[in-house]
Symmetry: C2
Amino acid sequence: MMSEIQIKTASEQTRTRLLEAAREVFSQHGFQGATVREICRRAEANGAAVNYYFGSKDGLLAEALNFAPLKAMQKANVKADECPRMRLRLFIHDFMLMLLDEKNPSSQCQIMARELADPTPALDKIVREAVQPMHEFLGKLVREIAGDRISEAEMRRCVYSIFGQCLFYRHSQPVLHRLHPKLRYDHKEIEAIAEHIAEFFLAGIKHLAKDRA
Amino acid sequence: MMSEIQIKTASEQTRTRLLEAAREVFSQHGFQGATVREICRRAEANGAAVNYYFGSKDGLLAEALNFAPLKAMQKANVKADECPRMRLRLFIHDFMLMLLDEKNPSSQCQIMARELADPTPALDKIVREAVQPMHEFLGKLVREIAGDRISEAEMRRCVYSIFGQCLFYRHSQPVLHRLHPKLRYDHKEIEAIAEHIAEFFLAGIKHLAKDRA
DNA sequence: TTTACTTTCAAACAGGCGTTTGATACGCTC
DNA sequence: GAGCGTATCAAACGCCTGTTTGAAAGTAAA
């Protein structure tokens, strides 16, 4: 072997640069809005590189997606071994960081959030491997908090309430920026948002469970 | 005059057909996803008709937008002369109907909801004439319920919580349909959703105001 | 150096897009 | 019916898109 294991060949470097550029551009402009030429330009690669390495723009998106950070988050949440309420707070906090923190390397989540709204060839994979498990995860957490005093449909709506509030801050960013141009999503602001959502939700579910008791 | 006031000329009919088709296609595919050719096909008009009547695709969107139903909703809400909590329920209910009910003629709201996520030449107008007033409207309502026990930032987040939960059902429709293919948004389901959001929210704001009292 | 293979490149391709054009048909006034 | 402004039409334009092509450059083993 010419190179040690950890040293990448020139080819592997190009591949990696393409994936990184793709994640940037996809999360900024969405799948449709992103162009192969822009991705190649940022990766300093030739315009044909995407098709050479990934077969197509669709293939590039499929490989650019990475569900590991989401799964790691869920794993860490279970491991935390806190009470269900505390774990819910933790989940919302970590999720908001993934969605809003620009310094966060897992922009994967931002790509996915973008694709939720309008279907992409990769949406089926996203739903199967990321959304569905996450809904089930949150569903269990809600059950642990509310017990069996709420119906299945109500539990689903509880999960939707959480995701809805969280995703709003990402989906509506263009609007929110027009309404409050000076507002920045630094860590302090993100934590305040996460706390608001968690507090709100816990109060709501308490109320709901009380009614049905 | 050849025609009575309420009888439209052939030209006006074409214009109207174009606007109706545009609202359909825009709300289904978004502004970017919609094509002028498809709109003309549905309106049974020539491909050049859009530019003839509206100058451009942008111009067509601008004229297709109609904020009247939203304003009428707010007006009716004030007129209802109910207690703030009841008015909030009413608002959420009406808003969800606009967002989800396919039979509802005001698909305008669905177009706007689509555009919130990724900027369009018309987004500035939408924010100025529809989103901003609605946020202010809801902000006042939240204040009436919570009093001055919550900060300005908290009030904003309360408004976001409502919009987030409502818009989720529209923005995430492609995903939700994959998770629960059999679920249909009939009037009964929409009312259940609206009630859930309202109950949840009122419990949350009660909790928040209590903390700060 | 020769050989075979991989990677890069500029250029072109095919298709869809919004838009423009110039001719044709229509509706109205005189 | 002549004349004129409006409305419709098929066709084409120019641009951008993802993708393909075939040659050139690079790489590594024999």
